[in-house]
């Protein structure tokens, strides 16, 4: 049985922990709002890009000699998995969920006899995947100490990926990140980057189709498409980064909220136990005094 002093210390320590988790939750909430704003602000660009790309790609895709960024290299032997995670933990299952999805895909591809290369973005993903897929990790990037993600971060990454693609180091690139659905739900997502997945939103494409069909292209359709396709990589990576950071803070907020609540429960339980013990001690002492007095 722990002594009263031990229990007091224990309660004090849990209280301190609760304060920390509470503070972290509030910080995460504030950062989440900023991350969400950044993600929303970035949407118009991505949407416009996707629209133009969609209408262009549907025209050019079936022609021979289209950019390998769009139609692929014609092989699917070497896969590049770009796994984006956070730099920090204490965010529930956020990092491990992304890593789990990527690991499952990697193992499936390896089982099918494909070559898997992994590029990790963010420290936690690399740490997580290193254990069993360490040999497949070709490169690690992290944004440690970066306060505000800007497009140039995404561009740097995209440039590296394109260099690797041009050097023929892989055939298919897939991006793994966590899609921000809401503050409480984040979904690990795989998005094929190369060859580009051109999404044609059913409603949007029909509405835009008529307008886009009459566009003239300068200098030429192929050149605009080529420009857009390489730009699209950075845009998608940027989107992934922003979604990831919003998801991370959402996830961290939920995790810290849970931790705060658990700490509260624990404090209550410990306090009750402490008071019981204290009373028991007092009663015991009283009995001792009284029986001592009676004996006299």
């Amino acid at each position: 049985m722990a002594s009263l002093k031990d229990m007091r210390n224990r309660i004090a320590s849990v209280k301190a922990t609760r304060k920390i988790t509470k503070a972290m939750q509030m910080v995460a909430a504030a950062k989440l709002r900023r991350a969400q704003e950044a993600a929303t602000a970035a949407r118009p660009y991505a949407e416009r890009m996707a629209e133009v790309l969609g209408s262009l790609a549907s025209k050019v895709a079936d022609k021979n000699g289209a950019s390998p960024l769009l139609v692929g290299t014609g092989k699917d032997q070497v896969h590049l998995l770009i796994v984006m995670t956070a730099e920090r933990g204490l965010c529930g299952g956020f990092n491990s969920n992304i890593a789990k999805l990527a690991r499952a895909d990697a193992n499936r591809l390896i089982a099918n006899g494909k070559t898997v290369k992994i590029l990790t973005v963010g420290r936690k993903g690399a740490d997580n995947l290193r254990r069993d897929l360490g040999r497949n990790i070709v490169e690690r990037k992290d944004f440690q100490g970066v306060r505000q993600l800007t497009f140039s971060h995404a561009e740097g990454l995209a440039k590296r990926v394109l260099e690797m693609f041009e050097a023929g180091e892989f055939d298919i690139a897939t991006l793994y990140f966590s899609e921000f659905k809401s503050v409480i739900t984040q979904k690990p997502t795989a998005l094929q980057l190369i060859p580009a997945t051109v999404s044609e939103a059913p409603g949007g494409a029909a509405a835009k189709g008529a307008a886009a069909a009459v566009h003239e292209y300068e200098p030429s359709e192929e050149e605009v498409l080529g420009f857009l396709l390489s730009r699209n990589i950075s845009t998608q990576i940027f989107r992934g980064l922003l979604e990831n950071s919003a998801s991370f803070y959402g996830s961290q907020m939920t995790a810290m909220d849970n931790a705060t609540r658990n700490a509260g429960d624990m404090i209550n339980k410990l306090t009750i136990k402490y008071n019981r013990q204290r009373q028991a001690n007092i009663t015991k002492e009283l009995i001792e005094i009284i029986s001592g007095a009676e004996a006299v």
Binding site: A38, A41, A42, P44, Y45, A46, R48, M49, V52, L56, T150, F151, A154, E155, A211, V214, H215, E216, Y217, E218, P219, E223, V224, F227, L228, R231, S234, T235, F238
Partner: protein
């Protein structure tokens, strides 16, 4: 004059500018072109240069590095990674941009990259001497 049209300047990070403009001169890859309301639909890539925006009595000059434009009869959307308002931008920023552009020019491997970097450098030089 056919009136105004919606001009939007969008960067990957946010919408930088959204105004009703009378005329915008766009530095297209195949040469500058002016957009008025009711312009024929065009999609063009941009070369480094200055967007000249006239909206009522307000006149704005915006420097863009690269990107593309989508023109509709009632709308003009410019998607650019970086844009500077030439009236606001400091000489230091321009000098820094020039420095990175020059480094890019030196690092450029193939012809098209070299050409792009070259236009960027000369455009920046021209602008910074004029600003100084």
């Amino acid at each position: 004059m056919a009136g105004t049209f919606r001009f939007e300047l969008v960067s990957p990070e946010r919408v930088l500018l959204s105004v009703d403009a009378d005329q915008v001169v766009v530095p297209g890859d195949d040469g500058d072109f002016a957009v008025l309301a009711g312009h024929a639909p065009v999609i063009s890539t941009l070369r480094p240069g200055v967007l000249d925006v006239t909206a009522g009595s307000v006149h704005k000059r915006l420097f863009v590095k690269s990107g593309f434009v989508e023109v509709d009869p009632s709308r003009l959307t410019v998607l650019a990674e970086t844009a500077y308002d030439l009236d606001d931008v400091s000489a230091a920023t321009m000098a820094e941009e020039l420095k990175t552009a020059e480094a890019e020019l030196l690092a450029a491997k193939d012809d098209s990259a070299k050409r792009r970097a070259d236009t960027l450098v000369s455009e920046l030089r021209r602008l910074s001497t004029r600003a100084a």
